[in-house]
Every structure is written in C-alpha cells, then in structure tokens.
Symmetry: C2
C-alpha cells in the first residue's frame, strides 16, 4: 500500500476543547441551575475543566476508568464531559429516570469509580449506596454554600474541590480509538447494555451533526439543548456546539417546563433547539396560550420519537419555525438520519425520519436477509453501519445485535424512498404479522390518535389461530370521556385498510411507560395476557 503523507493527528475531544478555547474564548454557555441562571464563557469553562482534571488526577485512577454522572444539563455537567474524556477516562452519563435497580445494575456493570451527582439525586444515590461495588468517590454538584441534608455517604463538594485545584493542567496525548464516553440503553428487553464511544467516533459524529443539512451549527447560532445530557450525550451537542463556537443554552432540570424554554428562547436569542416531541408539544401549547412569538428561533430538531403532523404543522405554519425530524439510537451516537426538507415542504415527506447523514449506511432486508429496493414501499428490517455505530456492547458477547457481516440490526422496520429518505414503519418486535402481511402498530396508533377523544393509543399483536396475529387497540381518553368503540372503528376505517382494523378496542385509564417515557408494549402485552387469563374486564367489540 502507498500510504498518504498527511499528518495523522488524532481525532479527540481534547482537540475540540483546544480549538474552542483558542477560537471561541468568549462564546457563552448559559445554564439553568438550582441557584438561578448561570452564565460564563468558554475560556472560563475550560479553566474550570482543568481544575476538575487536577481533582480527578488526585484520585489516582487508571486510564479508561469510568466516572459516572447523574446530572441535568448545566455548566458543571458540561465541565465533567470534557475533564473526564480529555483526561483519558470515560464519561459515563447515567439516566436518573431509570428504575433504581437499573441504575444500580449499570453502575456496577460499568465499575464506575467516581460519581458526580446533582444535589437533587443525592437521596437516590444514598438509597443505592450499600449495593454499589466500585464507587470510591462521591461528588455532589452544587453551589459552594448550598444547604445540604445530612447524609451517610462521605460526599465531596464539587465547588470546594475546584476552588482548591490549579487551573492549569496538561492533558495526555490520547489515541483516537480510546474510549471517551459510555451510555447504556434503557433496556426494555433484558438488562441495559452499554455503548462505549471512542474519541474518534465522537469527533466524526460531531462533524456530521454540524453539517448544514443536519443541525447546521456555527458561531452564528444559539442552540437550546433541550435533550438530556444523560441521554446519548445530548445528541453530541455539547461537543458539536463547542467545536463550532455555537452559544449553548442548557435548561438544567427544566427541559419539560415550557414557560422556561420559551423564556430562554426569547432572552438568550435561541436560533435552534433540539428535543423530543413531548417537549415541543408542550412548548407549542404554551406559545399558543400565551400568544408569544418565537423570537429568533429558526428551527427545531425533533428526535427520540416520531414527530406528529400536528407538531410539524403547528411550528411551521403558525410560527414559521422549520421542523427537522431526526432519527438515531444510543448505539449510533445517536444520529443516523435527518430530514432536511425545507419549511412548508410536503408534510408526508417531512414526517419521514430523513436521509442518512454521510458516514451512516442504511439497508433494509427481508426476513431471509435479502436486500430490499429503495422504492418507498418495500419495508424491511433496518440495518446500519458506520464509524459512529456501535460494533459491540460493553462487556457483552460480540454478536448481540449485529449480523454476520457486521451490520448493526436496529430492530426497526423501515422503508427507504429513491432519494434515500427513510421512514420507520414499526419496531420489529411490535409489528403485527397478520395472514403473512405486516400491520404497523405505529400507523394504527396514529390513526387512532386522529379521533378527537383519544389522548394516547397503543396497539399490540395478539395470537390468532387463523391469522397468526391480530391487532388489539388500547386507548386512553381525554378527561375521562367514554369512547364509543363503533365510532372510533368508523374513524379508523377511513384511514386504514379494513383488514388492519383491530379485533378489539379497549379503553383504559393509563398505559404503561418505560423510564424514558416510551410506551412499554412488553408490559402492555403482559397486562393483556393477564387480563385474558383472569377473564375479567376485557370488553369485546365484535
């Protein structure tokens, strides 16, 4: 091989920090904290990052040691991201919304040695402390003089540690393949699984999300990071926004607080914002109720779940804010596709999950593994490949979710159109196989939600002697209204094929959700089976 003669400078998070500190020293990071709105610039941020690096060095950890965070989106969490990764340790962000038993499992499985914890989560950690096998240092993230309840654990105080540490530090030279961050999937099936990101994958993914057709980040933008920093590194925004000198607005624990988001959008001049549909739905309602404008807001990135037509139309038509639907997974750093259709583009096209960003390869295959055409109609199992896609899970057998050619199996069923625009049809474990054909539970749920009284809908497949499986629809109504099944069925029949119509429509007061807020169909199936066995309250609608 004739090797190119260019420098082999490694792609590291340290390079991101160094670049930003030299080129964007006065760029601001604004955070909502327990003590109010905090504001500083990147120069100050990285001075504190170096103080934290000195603190961590004192612990005498080995390179690659895991340091966990249980924290909201604020400047201290930002500092932890950089100090940990650039010191050669692994920044393990833990989702505090998980069940305590999952958090315990994750911390022990990762063998975290240091815990950085928002004051709000101190009681949670205290309750787990007896089960934690590897943690040697507990650090609470709070103001210097913040009141502190009596505790059993020997908590170190973050601000006290930083105040006592020098602001100069020489970061180690790192290999770009070195691990830099760790995130666990929420684990609806089995135990949570860890994805171990490398410096290389993180930098490449950051490059990709900065691109104009992805998030479009530059120093002329102000980004509101309304997706948690404990969830897939807030979609890499802390890295990518830093790399491009984009002002960052971190809403602390308030990302579900629409009034706070609206205030931040106005007062900080936010131009783009990233978050899940529920965040944007509540913001949309708030904007309508208060008749507020959206200030400089130009676009929102909607990911984590499907974007509804109501959400897209609301922002685009009423507020002239472009909606960009994005799709990804923890295993993909997370970004796989972005829909960069322009504002007011055809809604059907706009609600697709989007085109793969360069670096991510997609394919769809049938159940025999044969590749399917990109015609927008053929649906199959979606597989992905690329430099920021998980190769194997942390401390798991290699083949857990990969085919024999090394493609990652997303667990989704999707179509891809001739322009490479992908649309998720369903999760492969949720799709209903009826008479050799597929019924999309998601499409059926969306159709049900078009019925005015339906607040939430969930469709599961139940075994059927003749058709293998048939759909059953569970619905939750607005404000205790009783839904007439025949009326809902009539509505559905105008939107889906007749053989898709559910065999039963069951109204319940609420539906089960996972710790991250997704419909828990595994639990719903168990409930449905239990209901059948007890032969009780299963209304029959046929």
């Amino acid at each position: 091989m004739l090797t190119g003669q260019m420098m082999t400078t490694p792609l590291t998070v340290t390079a991101v920090m160094r670049h930003a500190e030299r080129v964007f020293p006065t760029t601001e990071i604004v955070s909502i904290t327990a003590a109010g709105r905090h504001r500083y610039c990147l120069r100050e941020a990285f001075a504190r990052v170096r103080r934290l690096a000195n603190v961590l060095q004192e612990f005498g950890l080995q390179p690659g040691a895991r340091i966990a965070t249980l924290a909201w989106n604020d400047h201290r969490h930002f500092e932890a991201y950089f100090a940990i990764s650039c010191s050669g340790y692994v920044c393990h962000t833990v989702n505090p919304r998980l069940f305590p038993a999952q958090i315990e499992y994750i911390l022990n499985h990762a063998e975290d040695e240091v815990l950085l914890v928002d004051a709000a989560f101190v009681p949670l950690v205290e309750s787990l402390a007896a089960q934690l096998k590897s943690v040697r240092h507990f650090i609470v993230l709070a103001e210097e003089g913040a009141a502190f309840p009596p505790t059993r654990l020997p908590w170190l105080r973050y601000e006290t540690l930083l105040a006592g540490a020098p602001s100069s530090f020489t970061f180690p030279q790192l290999h770009e393949e070195a691990a830099c961050a760790l995130a666990y999937t929420s684990g609806t099936t089995g135990d949570p699984k860890g994805v171990l990101y490398s410096h290389r994958s993180t930098v490449l993914h950051s490059f990709a999300i900065c691109m104009p057709a992805a998030f479009g980040l530059s120093s002329h933008e102000v980004v509101l990071t309304a997706v948690p920093m404990f969830h897939v590194n807030a979609w890499s925004l802390p890295y990518a926004a830093t790399l491009t000198g984009c002002k960052q607005v971190l809403p602390g624990s308030k990302m579900g607080d629409a009034a706070m988001l609206a205030d931040l959008i106005h007062s900080e001049g936010v131009t783009l914002a990233a978050g899940v549909p529920t965040v944007w739905s509540s913001l949309l309602t708030h904007l309508r109720n208060t008749k507020m404008s959206v200030g400089r807001l130009d676009r929102i990135i909607v990911g984590g779940a499907a974007c509804s037509s109501a959400l897209a139309e609301g922002f685009e038509r009423e507020f002239n804010v472009t909606v960009r639907h994005a799709w990804g997974m923890t295993e993909m750093s997370p970004l796989g596709t972005v829909n960069s259709a322009p504002r007011h583009a055809d809604l059907k096209q706009k609600l697709k999950q989007g085109q793969p960003i360069f670096g991510v390869e997609l394919k769809i295959v049938d159940s025999a593994g044969r590749e399917l055409p990109w015609n927008g109609v053929s649906s199959g199992f979606l597989k992905v490949r690329g430099p920021w896609v998980c190769r194997e899970y942390f401390r798991q057998p290699k083949s857990l979710a990969h085919d024999t050619s090394g493609w990652f199996e997303t667990g989704d069923i999707a179509t891809i159109d001739p322009q490479g625009c992908m649309q998720i049809v369903d999760r492969s474990k949720d799709i209903i196989k009826s008479g050799g054909e597929w019924i999309s539970s998601i499409d059926l749920e969306n159709a049900a939600c078009a019925y005015p009284d339906v607040r939430e809908a969930a469709v599961i497949g139940v075994p059927h002697a003749k058709w293998d499986e048939r759909p059953v629809l569970y619905v939750v109504a607005h404000h205790g209204v009783m839904i007439a099944p025949h009326s809902l069925r009539e509505c559905l029949s105008q939107r889906v094929a007749s053989w898709w119509l559910p065999d039963a429509i069951i109204q319940v007061d609420s539906l089960p959700h996972t710790a991250t807020g997704k419909l828990d169909k595994k639990a719903l199936r168990a409930f449905h089976r239990a209901s059948l066995q007890s032969e009780t309250a299963v209304p029959q609608d046929k």
Copy 2:
C-alpha cells in the same frame, strides 16, 4: 488503553461515492465542454466511473499507481477523480499552466503510468512525450466523434474505452491511510514538491469545508466550481459537493470567462461559487457593465490570494452577495481558515484570512521559535498542524518544511486576533527587515494600488548597509500613463509609516508572474540585481 467499541469503518472517497449514489442519485453535474453544455446526474456519473474503473483495471497497475490528469473542470475529470482514487490508485492532477519543463519534471518524479488529457493539451503532451519515462497509456478526454489532429503518440479515446467497458465494478476495500490523490506545489523556489493526500485526509477535509461557517454545502445549494480541478483538487469541492448532494456546475476551461460565469450563475441557479480574486474581479466588472443581477447567488468564496476591499465591497454592497475570504495551501488540502463574518460586517475584519476550521491548529512564533500572543498585533511565522496537513513531501527528505515538533511551516508571516482570526502580513521570504523591524511588502503594495494610476505593484527588499534591507517599489501603470514618483510617494505617506516609504519607485511595463499567475518576486529580485549591475535604467527617486 480501553478502546472504544464503535465500528472502525474507514474514511474513504469510496464511501463518499457510495453515499452520494444512494442518497443523491438525481443530483446534477453540469459541465461546459468543447461540445457545449453537458448535463447528467450522479447515478449516471457513477455508472461511468465504474466503466472507467474497469478500463483502468485492464492496465494491470499496482495499488498506489499514479494516474495523471491534465484537464479542465468537467464531468470527465470528475469521473477520473473517483474512478482512480476508489480503485486504489492515486489521482495526480497536473496543472497544465506550468512551464513544460515543470510538467515533465512532475510527471517523471511522480512516475505516472497513465495520462488522461483534455484534447486541448494533446499538443503539449506530444511535445514532452520523448522525455516521459513512466507513462504507458495516453488517454484523450473528448467526445466520441471529436476531430483529432494527427499525432505521434498512440492515444486511446476515453469515450471509446468507456463504451467498451461494463458499468458494474466492485471497488476494493481500502485503508483510510492509503494515498488517494497527489498535487504538486507550483514551486517558486526549487523544483515542484508533491503532496500525497490520503483517503482519510480527503474525507476529513471535505467534512470541514462543508460546515456552515466554511462553505456551507448541502443538497439545497448549487456550487459553481470556478477554481481549477488541477489545482489542489478544486479545494476539495468535487468530493465535498458530492458528499452533500450539492448540484455542481463545472465551467470547463471557461472559468476566466466572466460572461460564461454570469450565464451559468443565472441559468443553473448557482447559490455559491468558489474562485480566486481575479475571477471575481472580472465577474464584478461584467455584472456592472451588463447591469445583470446575480440570480440566486448568495455567497462567493475568495481564496488563493488576498481579497481586496474593492472586491468585497463591490459584491456585498452592490450585489448583496456575501464574500467569504478563505486561506489555505496545497500542503493543507487546501483549507486552513475561513472568514465567516456576516455580510456587511466591518471591512477590516472581513478582509482577514479568517478563523481556523476545526481540525487545523495555528500558531505564530518569533524568529527564536517562541510562541506569540493572539492579540491581532504581534506578527510572526505562521505554523499549522492537523489531519489534512502535509506531514512530508512525496519522495523528499522528511524535514523540508516542518519544524522539529512536526508543525508545518507555511512560509507566511501573520497576526492572529483574540477571536482566532488570522491575517497574513507577508510571505516570510518577501517581508523586508529594516532596522530590526518588519515592513510588509503586501501592505505597501496595497497602499500603492490605492493610487489611481497604479495597475499593479510589487515591493522587494534590497540590501542596505545601515538598515539591513530597504523597500523598493515597482509599479505598472494603467494604459501607459507615466506616474510621478513624488505624487505616488505623497499618496503612500498618507497610508503607511514614514520609515516604510520605499527608497526607490520604479515604473515598468510589466511584472514577472509564476505559471499560476502569482507575482514572481524571485524573478523581480534577479531583475533588480541585474539592473543595478548593468547600472542602466534604474530611476532614482531620492
């Protein structure tokens, strides 16, 4: 080391091609050719790329073999870029404007085995043929039935070869460090030197130039590539525009033809365009003379030489087109900095060479190698480092232009301001050291050009017993006007410090230029020395 567990998918030009073909199959490439305007889409382009790959495979070359092109910006050159690199060979773009002896040197030094040559350059190659030691196959790039003058060499015809080759081809799996392209510097000092780009450096550089604050490429844009594909890979636009699905407009040999560029901008809906200042100056004049609008043109990227205030003001104020000044070198793939100041920003700031793009590190040092502050005032030797910066020249001793720490020495003197915005003061070999201080030959030339009768100016340092060096100014006037030295000196004294005023002002009919159109100060110094020795026509102005 704990290694991250993400896929190690290599960064290759092949991945760029594969992505574009799947996601942007209908994106157009429009070319100006000898036979008129040619238009096709990426799907057709890559089908022809595979045909060409089959043709090349028949030659039985080794991986890493060099294949040279002598060609303008059109679809065939585009096909050569991808077919050569993705086949595992090295695409060696040769600048046909170089002196024939330099072209001969370069082709022999690179040991090119195949030559792809625009019909226009066939006579040039014929004239060199006897001296070419390694070339085994000569291919002429022209229409199928194009007339062809009688020649001595056994020319193969590109279109005939493609017509006879299959359109399917399995490209090899390449290592990302494999060489993919080769470009020689124009070599004002000594022989031209080759820069051997890797697949990795090319992909990373492409990522960087796509960023919003660099060129801002996406499928919503239409780019006019008015910088030659034989010069630093047209600033990587053929890769980056392909990667993002940006429609490409390739002006063939007409990039100096302002009427053609204006026509292309209108008829193809160009939104951004990249080129050197002389291209934009002539376009500006044309637009003014014809009172044409600029259509959808949003911004121009100006690089290769300093952008004048007249150029920036003309486009921004008269035509509302944003000017982005960029700086780079063949050794940097080429991009190092971009000035992304918004339209109508302060002109002084806008004319700086810009902020480093992420990946490129800059530093300025004094003559003792001590790093200088980024205060916008201290000027020093500019050094660069990064994953798309040359580590060593092709087949040259390692240390040719690198310091002992591996930084590349650009040969420029620059300042950097607190926001990381770099400004070139002068070439280090052109700056005039007078009494322990520096005089910028560029600043003095710019001051001279502000005098209405001056068409071009060149300043060189000449030895001086007391001050070490003193500046001498050479000027060329408009339309044979005789310039009064005292009047020009009066004008200069309003713009530069009195000790900067040249010791002599010499009017000449023309100034020497390099093959790439830059002022050849080496030749001017030789001319000046010869003039002094012959004690003839050196006017004294003191």
